[in-house]
């Protein structure tokens, strides 16, 4: 009890005396950064799971891109489950001159089985409209629209909109809808229609991208029985989705974003670790005397251990709590800053990230503070009589291995990936060891030069030699800090720039899908009339891969999820005599004129690798119910970033001509002529227009906002960098104070001291800059090569920036930090030391 009180008193005093400033600052920043990311992603995740039950509008859904066989519905009804169905596809909706790509959902009575569909007849657009539970679906001949469509088509109640060949009356506005998209990329406007109105629109045609759903709900046990039954009856292209499998793409995207942000926050944790290690090193040196006195006064080793354990546990708890508070405030700022990105009202976060933050803080502090503190208890009591007796050496790297292990655990935990966590930590350890080794060699080499140069340099070099370990530790820590900062700024910009330049300005920005054969001539005329250069039109036949070399395949044969998806889904086959200019044959050869009508295939490299297709293989496709077999004669590499029309599988002309086909084309529409699209849609209502410009725009917006979020988290890294800088400079402060007193007593001018220290700081900063540039280049290469699949081009500016920032930053900060030393009279200092 007394020990606890005593340690609390010592903590209070150390706190007031500013002894713990760096430690607290570093901890608060690290925990703050982690919890900001934690709280933020927790809120988005909570929003997702809160709506999880309603996301599906049912307990279970069976999906297919073809009409679902009736036996599912029969079995569900037999088991006493409620059943409803829906059909969803993208299409143009227009009113007057304006057309919009919308998501049409046709539903049958009973929809939704779970969750609430709420509507309002109020079209005033008030943000809090008086709405009600719909209780039914739209009556025949009417549609319910969402507020996006309402706003963009300026709709009022009773207005008519055109969907395909039909004109339907707008009856209500949807305010809440199950399976409403949430999160980062909101889809286009949404329209709900009665399923019986669908045939009249004429939109259900060959090649239309339709998702058929059977919605099922009821008692959980019965639903599970139905799930098992239906899973054993699934045909190709059909799948079962429950709440647990819902929205995997959003979940995956969020997980990835969270991982990315967590790793960025972990960069500040690593820096904080360096700052803490430096600060505790100084702390333990300053507390050697106190420990010796206490040993002399009868304190046992375990008493001292408990004393400092309480001291640091308290310190860790307080600083981590402050960090959590900071995180809570900062995430609110982040949400506000990204308000464009998340247009949902986010729920208040849970306290789980705070617990994680506290854990992070404690692991970090105890991991890096405990080893030197454990040493403190074994300080010889004889030090009270002989101050030259310090701690036994040899606690350096082994001591910090506890901290490194703790940090590795943190990385693996936060990255959610053992390999990633271990390799990042491995990288850091290798960097530390390498920097340390090079640092020692350079310091030794520099010491050899100490006879050369002016007075200031000579003293600067002599100081570095005298404090060899301290100097190397300083430059390694500063190098790590600067490395993280360089990597996050320059390299991130480089990678983003590389990505952006991969898209030419005149790249096609509109795709036309679902063109029917008899529409080819009128379309050509339309282009001619409007002075748009004729684009290439590609035929498209939908087929599903069913066998390779005569052996039937099912999705269950593959473990890779992408391969499973490719097997389950129909995809587009096309034919061409000439290969697209953005394609490259990597194996086999392209066909000649004589091959027209020959059953051969060229397969895209990625899909060939995923599914395991080689040149010479015979592939069998199910095209519109009949099998089609052909041999692979080439594997192509496709530049998908070109935004041109490309196909996974291509045949020569004359092979697929007799199968039901539609056509696809892409062209560049100058922004000035965007009105033209409305005329086009009016003339060809069944066309699906994909505005790639807006997709590129949206993708760039999301990228932009993710990088803004990273920038925000980067602030914490920057602050942690300052903590390292401060801790590194403070770590030799006591020696410097002593030195200054002696030098000035011996007649040294202030300017002489300043010059020699400037030289010392410049050398340390230069070393740190070199380490940082080398490390950041390696990091950029690794991230680009292994994580983002982008080639990283070497940036010489990293070296210039690293060296300049190192030399100037460390010198300025160092001199500022030692200013107070110079302002005291030598006598005051000597008295203090005595």
């Amino acid at each position: 009890m007394n020990i606890l009180k005593l340690s609390f008193r010592m903590l209070k005093r150390d706190w007031r005396a500013g002894e713990l400033r760096v430690l607290i600052f570093a901890l608060v920043v690290a925990v703050g950064g982690m919890t900001t990311v934690g709280f933020f992603s927790d809120r988005v995740q909570l929003a997702l799971s809160r709506q999880g039950n309603q996301l599906l509008g049912a307990d279970l859904i069976i999906l297919s891109d073809r009409t679902l066989p009736i036996h599912y519905q029969d079995e569900a009804k037999r088991l006493g489950l409620s059943v409803s169905s829906s059909l969803k596809f993208p299409s143009m909706a227009s009113r007057g001159d304006i057309s919009l790509l919308s998501e049409i959902k046709a539903v049958t009575p009973g929809y939704p089985l779970r969750g609430e569909l709420r509507i309002t007849e109020d079209f005033g657009g008030a943000s809090e409209p008086v709405d009600r539970v719909a209780g039914s679906i739209p009556e025949r001949g009417t549609v319910w629209v969402d507020d996006k469509l309402m706003a963009r088509l300026s709709l009022k109640r009773g207005d008519e909109i055109e969907i395909g060949d039909s004109r339907l009356k707008v009856a209500a506005r949807i305010t809440q809808e199950p399976d409403h998209s949430i999160g980062f990329i909101n889809l286009g406007p949404r329209i709900l229609i009665h399923a019986d109105d669908l045939p009249a629109t004429g939109l259900i045609q060959q090649g239309s991208r339709i998702v058929y759903r059977l919605l099922v709900a009821g008692d959980a046990g019965v639903v599970e029985t139905f799930r098992e039954w239906s899973q054993s009856h699934l045909m190709m292209g059909e799948r079962v989705e429950g709440i647990r499998d819902a929205r995997p793409e959003i979940k995956a995207a969020l997980d990835r974003a969270e991982k990315f942000l967590s790793l960025a926050a972990l960069a500040s944790v690593v820096l904080a670790a360096a700052a803490i290690a430096l600060a505790v090193r100084r702390f333990s040196h300053r507390h050697l005397d106190g420990c010796a006195v206490m040993r002399c006064l009868g304190a046992s080793q375990s008493t001292l251990l408990r004393l400092y354990l309480y001291h640091f546990t308290l310190l860790g708890l307080i600083a981590s709590l402050i960090g959590c508070g900071l995180g809570l405030v900062a995430q609110e700022a982040l949400v506000y800053w990204l308000s464009v990105l998340v247009d949902e009202e986010l729920p208040w976060p849970s306290m789980v990230p705070a617990v994680h933050g506290l854990l992070t803080g404690m692991i970090l502090l105890l991991g890096f503070a405990l080893p030197p503190l454990l040493n403190l208890r074994s300080v010889p009591a004889l030090r009270v009589l002989r101050r030259d007796i310090g701690l036994a050496s040899g606690h350096g790297l082994t001591g910090y291995s506890i901290g490194l292990a703790a940090l590795t655990v943190l990385f693996v935990w936060k990255a959610g990936d053992i390999r990633l966590g271990l390799s990042v930590m491995g990288g850091f350890v290798v960097a530390i060891l390498l920097f340390g080794l090079i640092g020692f060699l350079l310091v030794r080499a520099l010491s050899g030069m100490s006879g050369q140069g002016g007075g200031a340099w000579r003293y600067g070099l002599a100081s570095i030699r005298r404090r060899a370990t301290g100097s190397v530790v300083q430059s390694v820590a500063l190098g790590l800090g600067l490395m993280a900062l360089l990597a996050l700024t320059l390299i991130r910009d480089d990678l983003l720039q590389n990505w952006k330049t991969s898209l030419p300005p005149d790249a096609p920005n509109r795709f036309l899908v679902n063109i029917q054969k008899d529409q080819l001539q009128p379309l050509e005329a339309f282009f001619k009339e409007n002075a748009i250069s004729q684009p290439l039109v590609f035929p498209m036949v939908r087929g599903r891969l069913t066998a390779i070399n005569g052996k039937n395949i099912v999705s269950g044969d593959f473990t890779d999820t992408r391969a499973k998806r490719l097997i389950e889904r129909e995809f587009n086959l096309s034919w061409a005599s000439e290969m697209s200019p953005d394609n490259l044959i990597v194996k086999g050869h392209w066909w000649g004129r004589g091959d027209t009508g020959k059953a051969v295939l060229s397969v895209e490299e990625g899909i060939a690798k995923t599914v395991g297709i080689k040149v010479g293989d015979a592939l069998t496709y199910d095209v519109a119910g009949s099998p089609f077999t052909a041999h692979v004669t080439s594997i192509r590499r496709v530049d998908w970033d070109s935004f041109r029309v490309n196909f996974f599988v291509v045949t020569p002309p004359g092979v697929l001509d007799n199968y039901p086909s539609s056509y696809i084309t892409s062209f560049h529409l100058p922004p000035k002529q965007s009105d033209l699209m409305n005329h086009l849609i009016r003339a060809f209502p069944n066309f699906l227009v994909i505005d790639v410009a807006s997709i590129i725009d949206q993708v760039q917006k999301v990228m932009d906002q993710v990088s803004r979020a990273v920038e925000f988290v980067f602030l914490f890294t920057l602050l942690a960098g300052f903590a390292v800088l401060y801790a590194a400079i403070a770590s030799t402060q006591d020696e410097r104070i002593h030195e200054a007193a002696i030098f000035r007593t011996l007649g040294a001018q202030r300017s002489q001291l300043v010059r020699s220290w400037a030289a010392e700081f410049a050398i340390i900063g230069g070393l740190a800059g070199v380490f940082a540039a080398a490390g950041a280049s390696a990091l950029g290469y690794a991230i680009g090569e292994y994580a983002l699949n982008l080639s990283y081009s070497f940036n010489p500016w990293i070296w210039v920036t690293g060296l300049t920032t190192g030399v100037v930053g460390v010198t300025v900060a160092g001199l500022m930090g030692t200013r107070s030393v110079l302002s005291q009279t030598p006598l005051t200092i000597l008295r203090k030391i005595a």
Partner: protein
């Protein structure tokens, strides 16, 4: 069972030797020191710099271990104990006054004096500590931190800390070494007064003949050997 401490020497050193190796050679710092101090006595250890005074004090207090020989404190062979055992024994029997005061900068004067009691697990350390600080004339400065006190005041705090556990034995290592002569004299007066009042045994290391003359007994060290003993 131990004998009654009153009847046996509080400190007894037998054939105490300390040597350190300097490469191939051995440097003898203390050679075959024998001494015993009875409870209530005062002993001055005198000698010039490097004569081994502080080393002897360190060995007598169990702060360092000898190359050979033994030290008994209140009948207990301190080198048969481990580090923690010796620390506990110190906490029970010994008080220290150092040349450089050795106050904990993080603690106030009062807290510094309370420290040894708290380390010994005494529940209410404050009254005893306040009494002693009043006794050494610092009753008005209880809440001051060491750096807010003069050298003389700091040494008074250190003396209060040494006596607060009512130790059997107080060891002082050049207690006036960092003080001017007037303040030094006051400090010595204070130490001897307290020594008298509380019947404590005192072992004082000094190079100052006038201070040593106030002790009942003196031993002089020269190059690690005891050359004169005054009984």
């Amino acid at each position: 069972m131990r004998e009654d401490p009153k009847l046996i020497p509080i400190v007894k050193a037998t054939a105490l030797t300390k040597q350190v190796s300097t490469g191939s050679d051995h440097l003898v710092i203390l050679h075959d020191i024998n001494l015993s101090v009875i409870e209530g006595e005062s002993l001055a250890v005198i000698g010039s710099s490097g004569s081994g005074k502080s080393t002897l004090l360190g060995l007598l207090a169990g702060l360092d271990s000898p190359s050979s020989g033994s030290v008994h404190l209140a009948g207990e062979d301190i080198f048969s104990l481990d580090e923690d055992g010796r620390a506990a024994l110190r906490g029970r029997l010994l008080g220290f006054v150092f040349q450089s005061f050795q106050l904990l900068p993080a603690l106030t004067a009062l807290e510094n004096v309370m420290l040894p009691l708290e380390l010994a697990g005494v529940r209410d350390a404050q009254p005893a500590a306040m009494d002693l600080l009043n006794r050494v004339g610092l009753g008005m400065r209880l809440g001051h931190y060491p750096k807010q006190l003069s050298g003389g005041e700091q040494q008074r705090v250190a003396i209060a800390r040494a006596f607060v556990t009512q130790p059997h034995l107080v060891m002082a290592d050049e207690p006036t070494g960092n003080l001017d002569s007037v303040t030094g004299a006051q400090i010595i007066d204070l130490m001897f007064e307290l020594n008298q009042e509380r019947g404590t045994t005192l072992i004082l290391v000094t190079h100052d003949e006038s201070i040593s003359s106030r002790c009942k007994r003196r031993i002089r060290l020269e190059a690690g050997r005891s050359v004169v003993g005054h009984d």
